[in-house]
């Protein structure tokens, strides 16, 4: 805070103070704009359909209603989606971390024979890729269509995340490793007993990155999953948002059958709330880690 103190010593001009106030206002407005839409959606999910049609924007509903949540519970699709996404996210993140950390550790050891060759193998995949169609044909050729494996294995290592982990491993003092070797510990033992326990911040932040990626994934599920029982939450959400508009994707009206037309706007909002809550619950706990994780990644390696 030395900078703040010296700042106060020097008398500021009026113009300078106006600029300072404008900066505060600009940052404040931008920060508020990032949360206002969510506040409206949360309020709207508890509001009546009538209020949603009458008032364009509100943070607190005049009249509270749980109809939208009743509708999505009855419908069941969003909960099936939540369950499937929870599975893909948990298993997927575990697979990601297993592949990423084991691959990053040998590459972080400068004395590894053939390290340059392996690093070049990684860099080539960053520069060039086969593209969507060969990837799709591979998944279908391996018989992985309509399986959760298709959402987990093809992205098991993100090169970007792997490099962050590798850089973190490189920062760990080599004396620890040498001492363990003298005590007769193998490379694999060092990895599990020394390196991993010392890497909690990077493991936490990279796990978060992977988990958010799995939870938010829409495109891969759209490519690879056809079975409605394996629908993930983002697909279910997209379908509800489109269908609650009262039209099929092709524009024809939907026959709602015995339930009648749903409270469409509130339902969209309730579905959005239910599928976002898991991320927003985890967010405060990992926030302190991910800034660290990104900063480590900023160190070039």
């Amino acid at each position: 805070m030395a900078a703040a103190k010296t700042k106060n010593k020097i008398k500021r001009s009026v113009g300078d103070q106006i600029v300072q106030v404008l900066i505060y206002i600009f940052v404040g407005v931008f920060a508020v704009s990032t949360v206002l839409p969510f506040l409206y959606v949360v309020a709207g999910s508890f509001a009546t359909e009538k209020e949603l049609t009458q008032r364009a924007f509100f943070i607190i509903p005049h009249e509270w209603s749980l109809n939208a949540f009743r509708y999505i519970i009855n419908d069941g699709a969003i909960f099936r989606g939540l369950k499937n996404s929870a599975f893909v996210t948990i298993v997927g993140t575990f697979v990601n971390m297993a592949f990423t950390t084991t691959f990053a550790y040998p590459l972080s050891r400068k004395y590894l024979k053939g390290r340059n060759f392996f690093m070049n193998m990684v860099i080539i995949t960053m520069l060039f890729s086969g593209g969507m169609i060969p990837g799709y044909l591979l998944i279908s050729g391996l018989g992985m269509l309509d399986s959760f494996a298709s959402l987990i294995l093809p992205g098991a290592i993100s090169v970007f995340n792997m490099v962050i982990v590798k850089n973190f491993f490189q920062e760990i003092p080599t004396e620890l490793e040498e001492a363990a070797k003298i005590d007769g510990c193998s490379d694999i033992g060092i990895f599990f007993k020394i390196i991993l326990p010392l890497s909690k911040p990077v493991i936490a932040s990279i796990s978060l990155f992977y988990a958010v990626g799995h939870w938010n994934d829409y495109f891969n599920a759209m490519l690879y999953i056809r079975d409605p029982n394996k629908e993930v939450v983002q697909i279910a959400l997209r379908r509800i948002v489109l269908l609650a508009g009262g039209a099929n994707p092709d524009g024809s009206p939907i026959d709602f059958g015995e339930f009648g037309a749903p409270p469409e706007k509130a339902v969209k909002m309730a579905a959005t709330v239910v599928s976002t809550v898991p991320i927003l619950v985890v967010y405060p706990f990992v926030q302190k880690y991910f800034t660290k994780g990104v900063m480590v990644g900023a160190v070039k390696g």
């Binding site: 900066i23 592949f99 024979k113 990684v122 593209g131 294995l153 040498e178 959400l237 900023a298």
Partner: protein, 313 residues
């Protein structure tokens, strides 16, 4: 065990095979990742051969007839090529001009804020949209912009007196996409710049102030040079992905009304390849994109090195 110890002592030369054998544990750890890279990255790279075939899933890679560069000719001479290039480059260049500087400006502003709780609260809020899926961003956009009761639509109606249909008029599509990107990612993008800024020596600021530098001169001569190399690295990556417009975002905002400005290479490959079953043609389109992307990253990297920056590779 002495045989497990690494040759830390200089001059302790052993045969290559012996050194490799000593590191067998490391190679074992490397193995799952290597298998992953080969199966899911390198085999699809070989799969691009179907761009030179008339691939049919029933005949397979070996049985499908070879057609040379016919698929590429079809693409380059067809009507879609210029439409795709216009949309893809249009969105990318708008992103480069407006979205790329946004996190830098926001980071510079956050850096000027001395009130620490205000700064921390602002940071916590602006990071949030990064963790929200594009499905939700698309849904929020429909809620806010739709012509029936979207609040932003009503505000625009009150100000301009015109009925502005942002969601389905093609002329607004590029702006909508860039605006979404700025809203979603510029907060999170500040992290890397703020990290670079926190490393600036306070004495530099004090010395500059003693020399009579005002706010703008401090920003120009002290703050910006401190984050210059970070900016260059981010710029290389952005230039390299100029043809990458992101599947999900555009796919989710695209509809039958705005498709003339919304079809980009990525969505086109999906529509033609996966939905249309034209595997060879869409692979050729994808391969064109990959090659142009690779050339651009390498050139940007070379250029950065010439300018005295460290570059990426």
């Amino acid at each position: 065990m002495a045989k497990n110890a690494q040759p830390v002592v200089a001059g302790n030369r052993k045969s290559l095979w012996k050194q490799v054998y000593q590191q067998k544990g490391l190679y074992l750890l490397l193995l799952p990742g290597l298998i992953y890279l080969i199966v899911f990255k390198y085999i699809p790279m070989l799969g691009v051969v179907i761009a030179f075939q008339n691939f049919s899933p029933f005949l397979g890679f070996t049985g499908s007839p070879w057609v040379g560069f016919d698929q590429f000719k079809l693409f380059f001479t067809g009507n879609d090529f210029w439409m795709l290039m216009r949309n893809t480059l249009g969105i990318s260049l708008l992103n480069l001009i407006f979205y790329f500087p946004a996190p830098i400006i926001l980071a510079l502003f956050l850096n000027e804020i001395r009130c620490s709780w205000y700064k921390r609260l602002a940071q916590t809020l602006v990071y949030i949209p990064h963790f929200i899926s594009f499905v939700i961003v698309a849904s929020l956009s429909y809620t806010l912009f739709n012509v029936n009761d979207g609040i932003i639509h009503e505000i625009l109606l009150a100000i301009t007196g015109k009925n502005i249909d942002i969601l389905s008029k093609p002329q607004y599509f590029w702006g909508l996409i860039v605006g979404q990107s700025i809203w979603k990612e510029s907060g999170y993008g500040t992290i890397v710049f703020l990290a670079a800024l926190s490393g600036v020596d306070v004495q530099l600021y004090e010395a500059a102030k003693v020399d009579g530098a005002g706010r703008w001169r401090l920003m120009w001569h002290v703050t910006l040079p401190a984050i210059k190399s970070t900016i260059v690295i981010m710029l290389i990556m952005r230039v390299g992905s100029l043809l990458n417009t992101g599947y999900e975002q555009i796919f989710l905002m695209r509809n039958s009304l705005n498709v003339s400005k919304a079809e980009v290479i990525d969505t086109y490959v999906y529509t033609r390849g996966i939905s249309g079953g034209q595997y060879s043609y869409s692979t050729a389109v994808g391969l064109f994109k990959s090659i142009v992307g690779m050339v651009m990253v390498l050139s940007a990297d070379r250029l950065a090195k010439k300018m005295g920056e460290s570059g990426l590779y």
